[in-house]
Subunit: 349 residues, 2 copies
DNA sequence: CTGTTAGCGCTTTCAA
DNA sequence: TTGAAAGCGCTAACAG
């Protein structure tokens, strides 16, 4: 069904029909009604491709994310989708399974589709081929969950969030904190690692934490179980993601450890599901949806202003903390000896 | 960057450039290389809108789903996305938050975008405005997770799955089984309910189960807690969704009940996350991804054959069963079937 | 093997 | 307030 048939049906020119849909004020009420009527009976819908081709405005917003499975990205996508919808755009989301090649493909498709902008979360900002691709094509973009001097970013202050979390664990008495890092690690996770050269206070605090890289491909629950059955098992597990924290909860239970009595587990995302489990997962709560929303709005603002966003437009959003039920004092005394009669004592014997 | 500039750069006509991208064999190797080179240096990408407008083939597959938050739909979407990608199409997914109006809007957009097909999961097949909309526009579609005589559907035999699950619970000795049904219930959940008039064996078996509608809007964990604190609490909770089963697990823990010693909880989706929790969630395992994939392939086959899919093309996929750790024998000897007017029902009112 | 050209459906001057 | 017509970038006859 094309605009011609509608024009014919209403006894007007195609230009008038077009105006009815794009600038209704500029056409007489009587003709407008006639056109609308014709359009309705023919169930006419303007052809998007033709419209895009003609106006050079696709009203498409691209979104490149590592995966569709992690609730973190789902929550982020919710914010993105809402902002995109409100702006009258349509969303073209692409999940890349954390594969850099797919990220580049996605960026290429984004450009070819004529998307007016793009928000994205890449596995590795440095190595990303998608970023320069978008940059070269002049597609305005914003990164989510990253902090980088060379790109417009929206995220929390992850270094500070980590410091907050460590401070909380330490104030509870934990001295043997292990931070579990899945491999390959996203650049957003690598940040705030000891020896990153920034030398600021929070990094110093974080360096008191032992970092353990998880073997890629292996079953996380088994790996964590191994760690927990070690005689020198940590008193607190600080996970880079909530999904990993959930694995920790299961691993602990399989070892017969009770959380938080025998072990503290904290996450770093604050996904909604964590609050529906038992024990409720203690975690940094990142404003995932807000991050997505702000990233979209940043890009939209740039489109409206006719210029690409820059690193100077970057936004840092506040994070929260979920107390949860998976976090408590360590089972050991301050002096590092097992409390008498504590199950951990038997385990260490 | 248009095809003209590339043609100019390579010293050929636009037709040749077009051929290089659409039917490379038909152009001499030497010219092809020259064109490709020019395209690369100019970082040319064919304009999708122009291509679609000209060929009348958008290579877009629409997907309408109730939400983005439920892992069930995420898994489904994974299957859809994979099939769509393999076919060289691009996916346009729309989440409707289970709002019929948004479903209709989505269908309208699908049509306007020129999508060649659509897979969808609607809240209510009967009342859906999206279905007739697609039908009228001639966009081939397939329903997922539904069984309906009037539409092409891909799903499991949910009646049989429910019967299998009930049989398993009964063989373990459970006689007080409650099936928790969130409100408003999807048509896919309403199926297999007593009094649905089919009168077959599985329905008869399922009718031994007491159905309890959950209060819409209220906190599920609280509601379930109330049910569990009743003196005549059921011995097994049969949930229509895994997410609800997870709520049951938490509610049970808050009541001091140990699963499965004091209470059996089973889900009806088999989401991956359920296997990562403790206790591992026992559940019917639906092949969500396969359902999505088959729905797409069904539509693709129809597109290739130049005809819309019909109810006769419907597919029934086999379901599985996850033993899990949340399922065991009841805590006390069976004392007969639940009586009408069970107090547990009042607890939820 | 390659070039010329019409036209997909729409918006938008420019004229009336 | 309305219409005529050009052209967005591309593909597919058709001609050579």
């Amino acid at each position: 069904m094309s605009i011609h048939r509608v024009a014919q049906g209403a006894g007007v020119s195609v230009a008038t029909v077009s105006r009815v849909f794009n600038d209704p004020e500029r056409v007489a009420a009587s003709t407008r009604i006639r056109v609308l009527e014709a359009a309705r009976t023919l169930s006419y819908l303007p052809n998007q491709s033709a419209r895009t081709l003609r106006t050079q405005r696709s009203r498409i917003m691209g979104a490149i994310l590592p995966s569709r499975d992690d609730p973190v990205y789902v929550e982020c996508m919710n914010g993105i989708a809402a902002a995109v919808l409100e702006a009258g755009y349509v969303l073209a989301p692409i999940a890349c399974d954390s594969l850099p090649d797919r990220e580049a493909d996605a960026a290429r498709w984004i450009v070819a589709s004529g998307a007016e902008g793009c928000v994205l979360l890449v596995t590795d900002v440095e190595a990303s081929a998608a970023l320069p691709l978008l940059g070269r094509s002049g597609v305005p973009y914003a990164l989510m969950h990253h902090q980088d001097d060379r790109h417009p970013c929206v995220s929390i202050d992850s270094r500070r969030a980590l410091a907050d979390l460590v401070a909380r664990l330490e104030s509870l008495g934990h001295r043997e904190i292990v931070r579990l890092v899945p491999q390959p690690a996203f650049s957003r996770v690598q940040e705030a690692r000891p020896g990153d050269g920034t030398g600021d206070d929070s990094a110093a605090r974080a360096s008191r934490v032992r970092h353990i890289d998880m073997a890629p491909g292996a079953d996380p629950v088994r790996q964590i179980g191994l760690l927990l059955s070690s005689p020198t098992r940590p008193t607190a597990l600080l996970c880079t993601s909530d999904l990993l924290a959930i694995d920790c909860l299961r691993a602990a239970a399989l070892q017969g450890l009770q959380v938080p009595r025998d072990l503290t587990v904290v996450g770093f995302d604050g996904i909604a599901l964590g609050a529906r489990m038992f024990p409720m997962l203690a975690a940094v709560v990142q404003p995932h949806a807000a991050i997505g929303r702000h990233a979209v709005e940043l890009v939209l603002r740039a489109i409206a202003g006719g210029r690409a966003p820059t690193a100077a437009d970057s936004l840092l959003l506040p994070h929260g903390m979920r107390e949860g039920e998976s976090c408590g004092p360590p089972p050991f005394t301050a002096h590092g000896h097992p409390q008498p009669g504590h199950p951990a004592e038997a385990a260490l014997a």
